[in-house]
Structures are given as structure tokens and as C-alpha cells.
Symmetry: C2
Subunit: 362 residues, 2 copies
């Protein structure tokens, strides 16, 4: 078990935005909440999954909704606990720890506040190893863990509990409730045992996010290339560099969909990259050819600072680097690809691991 410092929280938020692959919401507000918790003297303790007892009850906590709305709706602070406490009450037994649902974006930070306020540790694992737009898109789901009973709370005090026949129905019902709440819900779901976490989670993703953030910070201090530092830690690839020339986005059924066009610079001077996203970046197409797709991670970084740019902040004129990172192996089975592969999102292409695509290029 290790205790998060303020610096760790800062680093973790930076790394989480990169693992968020453009979605998962801006970690900025989550970070402010986590920092204020530390300033009040509460502790944020992170526990490695292997130290969690097999029979312990773990309740992940998260926010759900459209990031574009999420960043405009400031949490009053304790809503994040309403959903968690209600689900805890349903079980009527001690909750050993909370955990992120996704390692990307605001959802890697929210559980820190929940854990600190409840005096329980946060498991260093999650159900995605990145961010994804739907609740059944988790390695928990692929490994047979029910997402319900699930609780949703809004900032007004409304609470909804869902007990669905499967995780796809849980997503459908939670989505309409979230839209009705006004676009954002605080949620607790996928209650599971310590054994489940070890079997079905993506391990060490909080520490990975912190390490990514730290490496960017150190690279900048040393005036070395922060993007190289990220690629080293994530085993990632530099996919493109250029200037954003067009961004289109619209809200469809509670999701922010769109695409960005990037005109190449430097060694990519004759090329163009089209990035398609639905909350998260899904597919990168260079000169008409797919060069990276879900479930592998695609992130857009400020070319100078290495800081990630989420899809809601993509703007004309930004100079960016686009990187690709391999997804966790739990996402690469046939069963998992049915849940998060490119075909699920409407692309008529097969998933090819980024390592293989990159090798073809070299």
C-alpha cells in the first residue's frame, strides 16, 4: 500500500488524460477534488491488487456522461459518495476498497476522493486500462462479472438503482437515466470480490498513470522530449505529427461523436491523419489507411509539452503529436474484441495489434 502525495495526484491526472485516449472527461476537476481532500488531511491510499484479500468486497466508483457536459457541471463534492454509499448499503457489509472503472480521464481520479472520504484504500487496477464510452466495455464484463446492482446519483439528490438482466441492459438503462439527470451521473457498479479484481481487472493502471505523468514532468525539467518519455513507459508508437485543420463534433444519444483532420508537418509533411472519436479516440487513418484502432490506445498530445488534449479541447490550429499504445492483452481475445473492437463501433475493419501494424511500416 502506498500513499498518494499531491505531486502524485498531479502526475496521475496527467497520465490519466493520456490513458483516457481523448475521452473519459478532463481530469482537472477530479484532480481539484482529490487535492482538496489531501489538504483537509485525509489520506489517499493505493493498494496493489495482489494485497487485496480474495473474499473482500470491492465497489468501483465513477462518473458517467458526456465529457462536454461533465466539464461544465461542477460537482458539489459529496454526490460522488451518494451512489457509493447506496450500493454499500445494499450489500450491508464492510467495503474493503474502491477502484476505478476506467484508468483514463476523470474516472481514474474520482475514486481517490471516494476512498479518502470513506477511509478505505483504492485498488491499483481498473476495468479498462484506458477509457471507453460504454459500461459493458470492461474486462470485468468480458470475464463474466455483472455490473449490477448499480447505483446512479445526480447533484440534486436523485438516486436510481439498476438491477439488469445483463451488462448491456445496465448500460442502456443507465444511459437514459444519465441523460435525464442532465448529462452526468455519479455511479457505483460492478461490485466484486478481491478474487474477481485479480482475475478480471487490468492491474497497476493507477501507478502507470502516475508514472506517465511523472515522466512527462521530469522530461520537461530536463528539457528532453516528453513524448519519447511517454512512449518508453507505455511501449507506444509515434503515429503522426501535424496541425489540426478541421474538427467536427456533435452530441448523439448522450455521446460526443466527431472527427479531427490533421495536416502533417516535418517528416509527415505530405500526409494527412483523420482521427475518429466517440468520447474517446477510436480509429486513426493516415492517408486512407488505418494505422491504429480500438482497443489499442490513441492519444493526441501537445507537440511541445507532451500534455494530452482531450477530444472536447481539439481546436483548429493546434500543433499535435498523435501516439498509439498497445492495449492490455485481456482486450485482445475474440470475445473481448466483440465488445470493444472496431466493428462494434461501426468500422468494417479487423483489429490488428499496433505492434504488428507498426512492424509493417518499418
Amino acid at each position: 500500500m502506498w500513499e498518494l502525495t499531491k505531486q502524485d495526484v498531479e502526475d496521475l491526472a496527467t497520465g490519466a488524460a493520456i490513458l483516457g485516449t481523448g475521452g473519459g472527461g478532463d481530469p482537472y476537476l477530479g484532480k481539484l477534488m482529490a487535492l482538496s481532500v489531501l489538504e483537509k488531511g485525509m489520506k489517499i491510499n493505493v493498494i496493489p491488487p495482489e494485497e487485496v484479500p480474495d473474499d473482500a468486497l470491492i465497489i468501483p466508483s465513477a462518473a458517467m456522461g458526456t465529457p462536454t457536459v461533465l466539464i461544465e457541471k461542477i460537482s458539489k463534492g459529496d454526490e460522488v459518495l451518494h451512489a457509493f454509499n447506496r450500493l454499500k448499503k445494499i450489500f450491508g457489509r464492510e467495503v474493503f476498497a474502491t477502484m476505478p472503472l476506467e484508468a483514463g480521464g476523470v474516472n481514474s481520479i474520482n475514486p481517490l476522493t471516494v476512498g479518502a472520504k470513506c477511509g478505505i484504500p483504492i485498488v491499483d487496477a481498473d476495468g479498462m486500462g484506458r477509457a471507453f464510452p460504454e459500461l459493458q466495455m470492461t474486462t470485468f464484463h468480458v470475464n463474466g462479472i455483472p455490473s449490477t446492482p448499480m447505483t446512479l446519483a445526480d447533484e440534486k439528490g436523485n438516486v436510481v438503482i439498476i438491477d439488469a438482466v445483463d451488462n448491456v441492459w445496465a448500460e442502456k438503462l443507465a444511459r437514459v437515466v444519465t441523460v435525464r439527470f442532465g448529462g452526468t451521473a455519479w455511479i457505483s457498479l460492478y461490485p466484486m470480490t478481491g478474487k474477481d479484481v485479480k482475475r478480471a481487472g487490468v492491474p497497476k493502471t493507477l501507478s502507470l498513470a502516475r508514472d506517465i505523468g511523472r515522466s512527462i514532468r521530469l522530461a520537461r525539467a530536463e528539457k528532453s522530449d516528453p513524448i519519447e518519455a511517454i512512449l518508453k513507459i507505455t511501449h507506444g508508437y509515434r503515429l503522426f505529427e501535424g496541425k489540426i485543420v478541421d474538427v467536427q463534433r456533435r452530441i448523439v444519444s448522450g455521446f460526443a461523436r466527431g472527427e479531427a483532420s490533421i495536416e502533417g508537418t516535418g517528416k509527415y509533411g505530405d500526409s494527412r491523419l483523420v482521427l475518429q472519436f466517440q468520447n474517446e479516440n477510436l480509429v486513426a487513418i493516415r492517408d486512407g489507411e488505418v494505422i491504429c484502432s480500438v482497443p489499442d490506445l490513441i492519444s493526441v498530445l501537445d507537440i511541445d509539452t507532451g500534455f494530452p488534449i482531450t477530444t472536447e479541447y481539439l481546436r483548429y490550429g493546434y500543433r499535435v503529436a498523435v501516439i498509439g499504445m498497445p492495449s492490455n492483452e485481456k482486450w485482445r481475445t475474440e470475445k473481448a474484441l466483440k465488445v470493444v473492437g472496431p466493428r462494434y463501433f461501426g468500422y468494417e475493419i479487423d483489429y490488428v495489434p499496433i505492434e504488428k501494424r507498426a512492424r509493417r511500416k518499418d
Copy 2:
């Protein structure tokens, strides 16, 4: 306490369709379910509100959704219990009785099946004395009773529990869940005490529905006018007679909205009546003048048999009588009219009790 016979169930279903004022769903399926329960040897016991102990727990049960969908989705039988049993479990104590939420349509019949299957009586009262399209449109709400915790179940096995900050939020959240379920939900809500029932309910509406149905049956057997028999029991007024010449309807946000035009016959030969509805009949306009409006009851009857015609069955060519009936006095306060008066439904008119409107005419 009295036990319902099969004949009572038949009569109650007919009367409920008249109190349903065109909405509340066709009681036919509910009737089949109630009759099959009697055929299996179960008992349907109705208890007058004054016999309910003050501290007893009462849980009303109902169906929610668009009648047009409701009549096409056959219940497998036990869904009606899922929502009820889940709400019962939340309270963890004995439920003394169930009760209709509304006295009109399928919702006056559904609780009979719930009561029989659970071996508990059904209180002879409801929260509307008629049918209305939204959950906060109850005398319970007007008298300060929370509608939540509320449970919703579908035929697939999904269950949703809502704990809302107020009854309007409960309606909003339950509505999107019902639409997502596919258009229909089985619900339990407004858990209350026996004291609440006596204070806030509309009493004796099950027996009123049965008496209306019986009077139609007896009038037809005696070859007397069934419509006169209905008016006598309900203290109602004959508003119009004629032939339906146009019906328009559309589904808007889960509600069946529309209007029917009726060309007068007999003494109404030179007149035309326009009937506007949203699930239920809301306003009757004769030759441009409002002659009856919510919360008073407007029903369309087959001119020969006196049988009610719900809004989803209104068709070109039907020869009908339109009647108006006074609403319960609990609906006639300023506070209540804000919830169910014509202005709530978008009509820029004041509510005038039907007795006063009728007196002006005579």
C-alpha cells in the same frame, strides 16, 4: 371486506374503462389476468379504506407506459409482482394491502392480480379517481406523499429502483426508463400508511367502477338506456352525440397525443365536437367552446351499448356519445389544479367545474 366474483371483475373492467376517460390502457388484458387468478382458486378481497389500520403499510401497484404499446405487449404473468416484491423487500415489513394508483383503465385491474397472488386485500381507493398520464398527477402527491422509493420492472427481468428528490423527478426518471424498457413498465410506488390512504386517496373507486359496469349490464338486459344509467351513478352529463369524422394521433415522448372530431347527430345535428387527448381525454370543445376539461372526466361511449371507447380505439365512422363527469373534490383545490388543471396540459383556459358549465347551458 368483500370478495370479487368473476361477474364483479367483468363489471369492474367495464366501469374502469369509463373512469379511464379514454386512457389508462385497455382493461381487457388486466381482466383476463384477474379472471385467470380466480379460476386458479385464488381470492380477490377488497377492503374499504376505513377498515385499514392507520399504521398499516400499503403499496400501490400499476403499469406505466403508452397504452398503444401496452395492448400489444402481453404480460407473462409474474412481472406484475417483480416491482411489488422488490419494493416490499426494501421496507422489510409486512405489507397489509395493495391499491390501484388510478381507478381508470388497466391500472384498476392490475392490483387485483397482485393482491390475489400475494394473499393480501386491495384497498377500495386510488390516487386519481380516474386516469391521468403522469405519476405526480395523484391526490397522494397533492397531499404531500412521496412517490418514491419506487420500483419498475419489465418482462425481461430488469428492475430499476428510483429514489427521487420529488414526485416530478420521479415521473421524469420513470418515464425514460419505461420508454427504454420498450414502452411499458410494471411499477410499485407511493408506499404509504393506512392513515395516508384515508387522508389522501380518492375513496370507493373500485366499487364505483364495478357499480358503473353493473349498471350498464343491467340496463342492457332491461333494454333501457345504458348511458342514462351511467350518468345516474356518476352524476354525469351528456355532452354530445355524433359520428367520428377524423382522428389524429402521434406518440410524443412516450405519450399518445391526438384529437378526434365528431360530427353531431340528432339534437346535436348542427354541431361539431373536438376532443383532445394525451393518453386520456383532456378537453371537449363544442363549436369552439370548451364544455368540459380536466380534472373532470370525459368519456366516449358506443352510442348503442354504452361501452367505453379508449383513445387508441377511436376510429372514423364510430357513432358515439360523449359524457362528462365531475372529478373528486380533492382535484378542485388551487394546489391540485396546478398539477392536473387545463393549464398544466398547455390550454390557456381556467378550470370550471362541469356542474357550473352545464348549468350555464340549461
